[in-house]
């Protein structure tokens, strides 16, 4: 059976510098060295999780299922 994941943050991708802006809370946090790596991780996670990457514009990306 499918487990409904809609409206949930499935993963978080932060820049190393913005690490303190997120506190642990259920979703795994991936730490990227630079923006390029962050973009790449976000794209890979987005396509594998079938989720959408949202940019909080403070160095934090969240992946959400809609």
């Amino acid at each position: 059976m499918d487990i409904e994941q809609k409206g949930k943050i499935l993963a978080i991708v932060v820049l190393a510098g913005a690490r303190n802006k997120v506190k642990p809370g259920g979703a795994p946090i991936f730490i990227a060295e630079n923006e390029e790596e962050q973009e790449k991780i976000a794209l890979n996670l987005s396509r594998t999780l079938k989720a959408m990457a949202h940019d909080l514009e403070n160095g934090v990306y969240i992946l959400m299922k809609h």
Partner: protein, 296 residues
């Protein structure tokens, strides 16, 4: 009974022709399959037969025949259920869903068409019976034209002004005019949206229309229709290309966003104008005193 023969045959023929005429195979592509046609033509035949025997039955003083009409109504409600169920099942895996309002609207139309067929058959058979076959033919033509008229329905183009507006980004927020559509995280996706995306703003002509496009079902119907007509790049798991419609909460204007297969703005605008106005979305606040005084 033999003298009723012509009347009944004329009635059934008129009903069947009416059903074929209003069995439009339009862009909604439903029912676009041979099996769909057969189901609906056969139900149309039953409706026509019921309509055309009603008057002869009454002339024979078979008053219980009226109960058959009640049976027919029951039967056609079943048609509506059938349409609703099958479309709602498909809805679950639709990438750009029709929306439940649209499904309900389609189902309702299929039910109503059978009543129209029954009515046309009834009129034609009585005209033939009390006049002659020529009156019947004339009445049949009138009935078919009337059916087409009643089934026409309004389109959105009559109610709103559709203005093309280029999508743009403010940071990660995708906007059309000053209406926020969504937050797009991936930079590559933003680039592609700017390159291939199309946007339009629907300006309601009055407050009745504002209430209509406020309806989520109506907005979903817009997205579904546009996505079918001009195509969409939406893919499973890639939500960046989802067509979306969002409201300007202050003015009631609706921004429509889509990443189409072919970037052709004129076709996009025309597709929006062609969207049927859903019965379940129709609201008429301006018909009440409160609505009128709130509008100015």
């Amino acid at each position: 009974m033999a003298e009723y023969g012509t009347a009944i045959v004329m009635g059934i023929a008129a009903g069947l022709v009416a059903r074929i005429v209003i069995l439009r195979n339009d862009y909604r592509h439903y029912p676009g399959y041979p099996h769909g046609y057969i189901t609906h033509l056969f139900l149309g035949f039953i409706a026509a037969a019921l309509g055309s025997v009603a008057v002869p039955a009454l002339l024979e003083k078979e008053f219980t025949a009226v109960t058959f009409l009640a049976l027919a109504a029951q039967q056609f409600r079943e048609v509506r259920n059938m349409e609703r169920n099958s479309l709602a099942q498909l809805e679950k895996i639709e990438l750009v869903p029709r929306g439940l309002d649209f499904v309900e609207g389609i189902a309702r139309v299929f039910e109503a068409r059978n009543y129209l067929v029954m009515g046309a058959a009834l009129v034609v058979s009585s005209l033939t019976l009390f006049g002659n076959w020529f009156y019947g033919l004339l009445g049949g033509l009138m009935g078919i034209l009337l059916s087409i008229y009643f089934m026409r329905g309004e389109t959105l183009g009559e109610l709103v002004d559709v203005v093309p507006v280029k999508p743009h980004f403010e940071g990660a927020l995708l906007k059309i005019g000053d209406i926020v559509i969504m937050n797009v995280g991936l930079k590559e996706a933003r680039k592609k949206i700017l390159q291939d995306g199309l946007g339009a703003v629907l300006k309601p002509k009055n407050d009745n229309v504002r209430a209509i496009i406020h309806d989520i079902g109506q907005r979903q119907a817009i997205l579904n229709t546009v996505a079918i007509l001009i195509g969409t790049k939406r893919e499973e798991g890639e939500l960046e290309w989802s067509p979306l419609a969002r409201k300007n909460i202050d003015t009631g204007e609706i921004a429509v966003f889509i990443v189409p297969n072919e970037k052709d703005e004129e076709c996009f605008l025309e597709a929006i104008r062609k969207v049927p106005v859903l019965e379940s979305a129709k609201r008429f606040p301006l018909k009440t005193a409160v609505g009128r005084s709130a509008a100015d």
